[in-house]
Symmetry: C2
Subunit: 418 residues, 2 copies
């Protein structure tokens, strides 16, 4: 199932402790030397860095600024952490917790992460039901993110949008935080439980900013254990790592990269969820935002994304399906319809229909005057309206049929209404 | 004050009764012959139409289809109504009601109506405080339209958006219907009453589909009288005309043409307000829509306009001001701000700030390891954080300053939060 060797896995396990997420020099060093040699360089006492290596790393990053100092400066960052290295223990810890380390050399490595370029993660620690199903490349992954202080509205909107997506086989990805994140994970787990005959496990994936030996925030401990039991929890930092602000910021790029579509359900004007949305847009992923009350601070960030053209407006699960280019058997929906009796009439016939009384009968002559139509247009029009069941005639003259009255309720204006 | 002659005014008064709104042949005939000659042709018994006139009318409309029948067919539509003509009586009726007829030959004629081309109205019947101020070309006009069955949310949103616009001198235009229309007119009247020292009268204009001798809908009679007393009510059809469905559809084009910006506050998936918005967009006017709950059918039309790219999202009065290119002294707003203590730190200093403990003190050595930074970066960074008031030192080492804790409440995540 895994094609990476145990040596490579061990080396990458160590590197995830030495190199901070988003450290481009570190990632470039691993890309240039390979995991094992990069680890050897960092852990050796040698301080001299060959110029050819400096050059190769600078070229990989694509920036030439102070390139002669890049790797040397990196070594100064990485080496203080060497004393904390214990990759065998980390791998054993994760095995014990029902998980492991997925590395780019594995067949199951999510190829979308390569869209991150040099900032792609060195590896992914995971904890879950089974890494294979969780990372299935054939599945659509939908990120659903938002405020920690979600409102009832946002939580309900998350549920309504997510349930049909999970029933069709999509995997819901979020950050395991309070509020919208938790609502998204819960909606996915609930949809799995209530969808009879669903063939898909792993309805949801939580991408964490800290190590997976201890779940953060602790108030979501039960939820995250549930996600690990039925889905998967992942992080790019090893067990024991604390979830720092920096790692939260960097974690967001993983959510964006892993998903076909990112949906922001509720977000304040300034919110980490907006970062995730912008990273997704930068990578050419589809981004959606759920609108809400203009009086809710929790919707201001969503409205901002829509106003800036950074997100499509999402009001229904179908909007997400459309952005994802379809989710398995879930077809892209046609527009909601439901026509009215007089739809499709040409202008003259609409004028005539307007002029027709509902109860009393009118003569063709009076209809000419009221509608402003010639006698020919009135006679031809009455015949067309009759064929469509909109007009009926009697000895006294013509009136509207009863069926032509709008019966579709409040969505149709009455005669003379807007 | 008016430059149109009384003969031309009389002729146009008559023509508004003969020719239905949006009748392109009629409008072209008036454009080619002038009002008086067009009226003479329609009211004469002559059935032969000179070919040169047919040609000129067809060219004015810009369509060559069956051009030899256009004017003849028009005469068949118009002549049955000649017996109802009484323009002196109509003008007298409107004078008695405190109004009159504004014609394109008047200096006060709103030039924006010419953007309608051939479908521009032949004249505007009005009823109000004074036509001059009402049609002041220097004022910004904002259309606010929406569902008749408005919700409390929509009514409140209309008020919040409209009040500051009126205070700055904008005129709010709507259709006088129940629901959002009524809320828009009321908000404008209330804003006028509560804005001390406002120099502008005529805070609102109602554009009606039927004649102005009787207000429709009757439930808005008091409101429409109020609008006439403090603003203006207009229609392109003469007194006595009933508000047919056709005239409602055509009335919407007048609202769109008269305004710099059209804002839809609430609208169902199918709604006349969407027609107004689309007409406005076709004429190159700015269009906005107010978002709302995804569970509210009354916001579905607004969300639809936004989704289709036909409207900008409007959540604040400032959004409307921006679309209008400014409203007098109301400046285009800058983005809402309110920064956080650590905003603007570079990556290394942010890593260091993350690593700093809030209570216990940390040595520079331990900060190297926790933050993954060199000793040089840590020492330099501590100095910068200290200068910004984010870090403090003691004999035991370094910790965060108390001021660096986020104090801005729920909009800022705590350490480790999203």
């Amino acid at each position: 199932m895994n094609s990476g060797t145990s040596e490579t896995r061990m080396a990458r396990a160590a590197l995830t402790r030495l190199i901070e997420p988003g450290d481009l020099t570190g990632a470039a060093l691993v890309a240039v030397l390979g995991a094992q040699q990069a680890l050897d360089l960092i852990t050796s006492p040698e301080r001299r860095v060959p110029e050819s290596l400096q050059q190769a790393v600078a070229e990989t990053i694509g920036s030439g600024t102070r390139k002669e100092l890049m790797v040397a400066a990196g070594l100064e960052r990485w080496r203080p952490r060497v004393r904390d290295l214990a990759p065998e223990r980390d791998l054993e810890t994760m095995r014990r917790l029902g998980g492991g380390l997925l590395i780019p050399e594995d067949d199951e490595w999510p190829g979308q992460l390569e869209d991150l370029g040099t900032s792609a993660p060195l590896a992914l620690w995971w904890r879950g039901r089974s890494e294979y199903a969780a990372f299935d490349a054939a599945r659509r992954r939908i990120a659903v993110v938002g405020s920690r202080d979600a409102t009832e509205y946002g939580i309900r909107a998350a549920h309504e949008i997510i349930a049909p997506l999970v029933a069709k086989g999509a995997q819901i990805v979020s950050g395991g935080a309070y509020g919208i994140d938790a609502a998204a994970h819960r909606a996915a787990l609930a949809a799995l439980a209530t969808t009879p005959g669903s063939v898909h496990g792993d309805p949801t994936m939580a991408v964490m900013a800290g190590g997976l030996d201890r779940f953060y925030p602790s108030g979501n401990d039960d939820l995250l254990r549930d996600i690990a039991a039925h889905g998967v929890v992942v992080a790019e930092v090893p067990p024991g790592s604390s979830p720092t602000r920096w790692r939260f910021l960097l974690r967001n790029r993983l959510i964006a990269a892993l998903c076909d579509v990112t949906v922001v359900v509720e977000a304040r004007w300034r919110s980490g969820a907006l970062t995730t949305a912008r990273r997704a847009a930068e990578m050419g992923r589809e981004v959606g935002a759920v609108p809400g009350s203009v009086f809710s601070a929790n919707s201001a960030g969503c409205h901002r994304l829509i106003a800036e053209g950074a997100a499509n407006i999402v009001t229904r699960p179908e909007d997400v399906v459309e952005m994802a280019g379809g989710i398995e058997h879930c077809p892209v929906p046609a527009d909601s319809a439901g026509g009215r009796a007089h739809d499709g009439l040409d202008i003259q016939d609409l004028l005539l229909f307007d002029a027709l009384p509902a109860r009393a009968a009118a003569t063709p002559d009076s209809l000419c005057r009221v509608a402003g139509l010639s006698i020919g247009a009135v006679l031809g029009g009455l015949s067309r309206l009759q064929q469509r069941g909109l007009a009926v005639s009697s000895d006294a003259g013509w009136r509207r049929s009863e069926a032509s009255s709008d019966g579709s309720g409040a969505s149709s204006p009455p005669r003379g209404g807007r």
